[in-house]
Symmetry: C2
Subunit: 214 residues, 2 copies
Amino acid sequence: MPSNFKLIYYNLTGRGEPIRMLLTYGGVPFEDSRFEWDDWPKIKPTMPLGQVPVLEIDGKRYTQTIPLCRYLGRMLKLDGKDDMENLAIDSAVEILWDVLKVAYERNWETSDEKKKQLDAKLHTLSPLLLGKLEEDVKRNGGFIALNRITWADIVFLCSYEDMMNLVPEKDPFEGFANLRQLKNKLLENENLREYIKKRPVNKMMNRFSLISDL
Amino acid sequence: MPSNFKLIYYNLTGRGEPIRMLLTYGGVPFEDSRFEWDDWPKIKPTMPLGQVPVLEIDGKRYTQTIPLCRYLGRMLKLDGKDDMENLAIDSAVEILWDVLKVAYERNWETSDEKKKQLDAKLHTLSPLLLGKLEEDVKRNGGFIALNRITWADIVFLCSYEDMMNLVPEKDPFEGFANLRQLKNKLLENENLREYIKKRPVNKMMNRFSLISDL
């Protein structure tokens, strides 16, 4: 197992937080290198592909959140035991990411007309996809992909927090008791509790932070 | 290994083609169930999450293109031999998907103003991301992620064809000799050649089809 991890990302949750939370859950020490939004133009040219998050693993730089989460999931034995199990994990994560993507897109949209369209898309997609995951959690004895915790559950926890911030006018988890229970169960983990208490507050958590659920 | 595969998707390349091409490359027989665009409203309510592609594996239905490609990649031994190798494959695929997503978005966009923005985004992103892959292919002895063929190369081949159709005003692979060479090398595969000759022509290939490169 590599011994040196450094995460470079905005002082935001977003695409960096699942990596931070996975390392935290696994008890892997890492340097949490955060920068403020205004500093990005300075930093961008120094990053591979001009993108963050970047995870440095033993000094080598890697990009792309989900591939990195999958990698860390395997490293921490939070993956599946066979191909079918890994397919279940990957599919759950894609579903989470699909709904988050629309929520972000809507959040950033500046044209009123387009925002309305994205509103409509989100309000169809969110109950559909979260409803599917709710059923899965029910069937899987409380976890999102398999009958035990996997890296998809950690991605879910971060998605939960972001969705609560991105969809402020309505609780997107209303009526999804199993997803809420999963969130609460994950928040029993001591490593995550410590991290959530200590992490810097940032402007993506202006409406909701998991700290209120500890 | 499961024995029964059926792919349900539009009569288009898009998100279905990498699954078709992987099964084809691996010599795995599958039912290629295609429907026309106009029939989608009838079919949508019968699909899990109202989405396609759907791959039926021994009668069970699965969605999500990339998780399915990863699954098939493992099944066909076109995956990495360890976590780091799989991270390289996953990252390459994410990069391909990132550039394709913008190309699709731009293609579908109806507002002139927004289309202009997406134009600008695509024309920055495409050379940057494809340029990164070009370097990777050069370093990897002709393949996109590792020093041998992986499922990322098959995803690349499909992305190549779609990009050629989605960015008609300029060849997006101009100047990327290694990517073009990789495409040509993949097209030497007999299974792929047979498939490409026989597959139905569809309206996504109105500008370019791999058949012209055989």
